[in-house]
Symmetry: C2
Subunit: 151 residues, 2 copies
Amino acid sequence: MRIEEAIKQNKPFSSEFQKSIVNLVYTASWWNQVATRLLRPFGISQEQYNILRILRGMGDQPATIKTLTERMLDNNSNASRLVEKLKKKALVERLECPMDRRRVDITITAKGLQLLDETSKIMESDMHKNFKHLTEAEAQQLNELLDKMRG
Amino acid sequence: MRIEEAIKQNKPFSSEFQKSIVNLVYTASWWNQVATRLLRPFGISQEQYNILRILRGMGDQPATIKTLTERMLDNNSNASRLVEKLKKKALVERLECPMDRRRVDITITAKGLQLLDETSKIMESDMHKNFKHLTEAEAQQLNELLDKMRG
DNA sequence: CAACATTCAATGTATAGACATATATTTGCA
DNA sequence: TGCAAATATATGTCTATACATTGAATGTTG
């Protein structure tokens, strides 16, 4: 569905630029809903899922809050509080860093890894289901345009 | 900056599809920050701004909560509560609809219109500043790909 | 080394999104 | 007509974002 229909806009946009912004926000919101519903049965939010993925990607190395903040998709979200919630579910561990006591070393637990394996399998298969409309070449083009859009 | 650098991802993405999703979410968050900071001096949020724009677009016709919900970019947001906040700032008016007392007719006030004129001028000029990297043709291509992405 | 600046994480306080539920109307149809 | 279903909005609760502030630990520099 074209963006104009999606938001029932009658008037034309004042420029393709304007339309791109609206389309970006709308599409992100669309994906957000898809992802939220997929993750809900597993009891974690997208942001928590994202943190688990970053931690898994670190291998044996622990991450600090700072590392997480840098790598999160939305780096204004509050890594501290998200980690706290993951810890309550025993999905991550938090240890004071011995080298620098300001820091906190965060690692994913076995339980966290297991949950992540399950969910990421489902997430990825659903992604491909949702993306059957875009070819690999189109996805690549989209990536280039989005990168360029940010300047 | 390419998305891999932006989120400091070392490993390659498992597919362009995956990368597109990450890029979409990241770019939306980037825009969100830009817009939030632009609007902050005016004391309204992006969502409130969006509602004011929809109301202005209605011309003389009032909008109901339902109309707003349908047209909002994120239609899970809570139009009721957003309208309540705008009303507190005297930017909108809310009247019980005489035809159907379940409904509420919402209109933008003169004060709301004035605020919107100021902010939208600034928003649009900043949009163009932020978009100087994309040509009109590229913006159009981006729109097509985003529409297609949603299926 | 002491004083000051910087860094890292946590927290307080707004606002908003996700979703279930409540409440008041209106509609539709037996 | 009467009553169940549908509709429009509001609200409760949890989660997350935005941003300022705090407080502890560490760096830096005179």
